[in-house]
Symmetry: C3
Subunit: 303 residues, 3 copies
Amino acid sequence: MKLNNLIESQQLDVATIFALFHKADELRISVKKPLNGKILATLFYEPSTRTRLSFESAMLRLGGNVISTENAKEFSSAIKGESIQDTTRIVSAYADVIVIRHYEDGAAKKAASVSPIPVINAGDGKGQHPTQALLDLYTIWKEIGHIEDITVAMVGDLKYGRTIRSLCYLLGKFKNIKIIFIAPESLSVNDDIKNYLKKYHIQFEEQTDMNKNLPHIDILYMTRIQKERMTEEEYKNSAGKYRITEENINLLEESARLMHPLPHVEEIELNLETEKTNKRVAYFRQAENGLYIRMALLSYLLE
Amino acid sequence: MKLNNLIESQQLDVATIFALFHKADELRISVKKPLNGKILATLFYEPSTRTRLSFESAMLRLGGNVISTENAKEFSSAIKGESIQDTTRIVSAYADVIVIRHYEDGAAKKAASVSPIPVINAGDGKGQHPTQALLDLYTIWKEIGHIEDITVAMVGDLKYGRTIRSLCYLLGKFKNIKIIFIAPESLSVNDDIKNYLKKYHIQFEEQTDMNKNLPHIDILYMTRIQKERMTEEEYKNSAGKYRITEENINLLEESARLMHPLPHVEEIELNLETEKTNKRVAYFRQAENGLYIRMALLSYLLE
Amino acid sequence: MKLNNLIESQQLDVATIFALFHKADELRISVKKPLNGKILATLFYEPSTRTRLSFESAMLRLGGNVISTENAKEFSSAIKGESIQDTTRIVSAYADVIVIRHYEDGAAKKAASVSPIPVINAGDGKGQHPTQALLDLYTIWKEIGHIEDITVAMVGDLKYGRTIRSLCYLLGKFKNIKIIFIAPESLSVNDDIKNYLKKYHIQFEEQTDMNKNLPHIDILYMTRIQKERMTEEEYKNSAGKYRITEENINLLEESARLMHPLPHVEEIELNLETEKTNKRVAYFRQAENGLYIRMALLSYLLE
């Protein structure tokens, strides 16, 4: 398979996933500049400084250059009313690859449909964020050593979390995965995910108690309760319900890993020393992996 | 003539215009990096992401680098009150060329008056936007093969449109040009333009019907009715009055071209297939030409 | 002494200060690119376009690259609530050096406490702005030829001015300095500065008349009355009280110099000709020195 864009996790087959992982491992230590003279345009319709800086750093480390806006709405303001397709066609004359972030589901696909250059989805609406899923999977592979035959607990806001959705789509491509969804009832995982997992024969359970599961899992994937995406009522019932602290982190096996897409708030309360020395804490390594997997993807799409 | 700045279209003589066009043609296929180590500062007092990205891409493709702000007002906020001249003097220590966009007429000229490095006007107030005019003229030359002996229809908002103004100044330098202004009465072209054209013996007419003129012109230059710059009354009387659709586009000769500075809204309603295959549709090529003409200008000013 | 960060002026000893000055002198004319492939992240929690562009230009001139945000608050918005330490840890994976600007005192120190890469304070709250102090001192050295045995008058807002504070800390490291503080009573210099100067045996006086002191000083360091940081009452009593004009500038000795951190408003009213030809006017050279001293600092921290 040759990718031309990356819009959804489902586009990736297992062979391509591993090609990207091995490329990421190689670029982690490489000093070559394969994208010398190439230009990345970051076209962000809503700010996401973290994701933008990660892509820009990836491009620069590969020897490329960057043109950038977190102000892309200005292209197509209410008054001017330009379509995402027209904007994409214009920007594609200025760059060699576009990374797009948009507030509407499906915006990245629309952009890709007219673009003569590769388009990468960096999150659109409640839809997908496939490079986040890729970096999550890459982290599992680096930390555990393999992806098949593992148990992953996903905890927190499983209803609104875009991360969870894209990661489930990727895990669905591997064998002997077991997923344990742990969430307050009001934030439980949506049917589309459950149907997808059933279709691919991925074993999953829905539970509400976190601590009793900690000793039996390989990956604990915590997520933030996203106050900004839910009702007051939903927030009150769920915030603080699941927390990893100095008390329960060591209920995890020594070989198990705590992941989080970050930023975290009160769902993780560990002191600095633990974050530095307890190998179970993987979330800063996970964030760093985002750089290498994005380097791999840019290099794959442009070389 | 040696240019030190580009503030107004009138600065350009015909020899310089063609020097820039030939340079643009050369840079379109070049792989040299003549501006290696040079720095462009984009100093934008109002956002114009499209123009900014185009200049930044041009600089990067030439091997240069960019420092950038769409927040230049912050330099001289109401409270701090720094003059545009002082800001320019400071920024000129950090860069090798400044591209300025400002909300006030004449701001670019003020900046150039104190700058030890070249200043390019990327639009100031209701004034000029000379690189837009240059890319328009370059597009006419590329698409038609020559600039003399042509008929250009300019349609839409001719009263508020900055693009029209700068393009007329440039066309005034060529022979046997005929301009047909087509606009609702309330948005007809201003006297300063008409007086300029008379002075340079450029033939022009003012009309209100578009379709009957389509078969007899070389260039149809459509513009957007800029709702944000006019009264409610003016907008109501003009929006939707002139439209290019699947019905009337082929009233144009096969060799004629439809141009637009973009973004367009309802004044152009063509389907994707037509935009891709009907050679009359030139506006995306026109946008791309902006990159090459800006590369040519930067290279001309800095080499 | 080997610096790992630059958070406060007090960190710098005299040997390091001169190492930086000599490096700045060298980089002023150098064409080497010692930081090729390195990335600077500007992490600005409040916009400061001037400071940001100066650091970015410095990094690019050294051959490095830049990732940049003036929108860093978005990392840790009220809702998401990420700590400055976590943000720093993540960004440190994307870059080789961080320049931070923050609205809270002590933020830069917090960032440095967890960062595996160098952190430079570009102003935090009412705290310090050490690279401004360095460029001020470098300007004194370039303009006067030496730092010891000089008299410096500091004029204007000495209560709220962050610049004054950092510069006093640096001057405290040199011998035979005399400082004359000239301010309206309500904006006189704070006790912490006075105590610091006493401790290091730096001679200082507090006065209210500027003109009578002009003939007897080496450096006149003017500052802006920062309307935005004071009460209406304080502003009314101080604005316009001290002004340098065509009338009094030549009360300064020919060898004396007028400095200002810029932007200036009504406290300096000189015509363009004077600014260009009167050697006493040093503030644009001072701003340019900011570029070279920041190049020196980046190069010192990263080489």
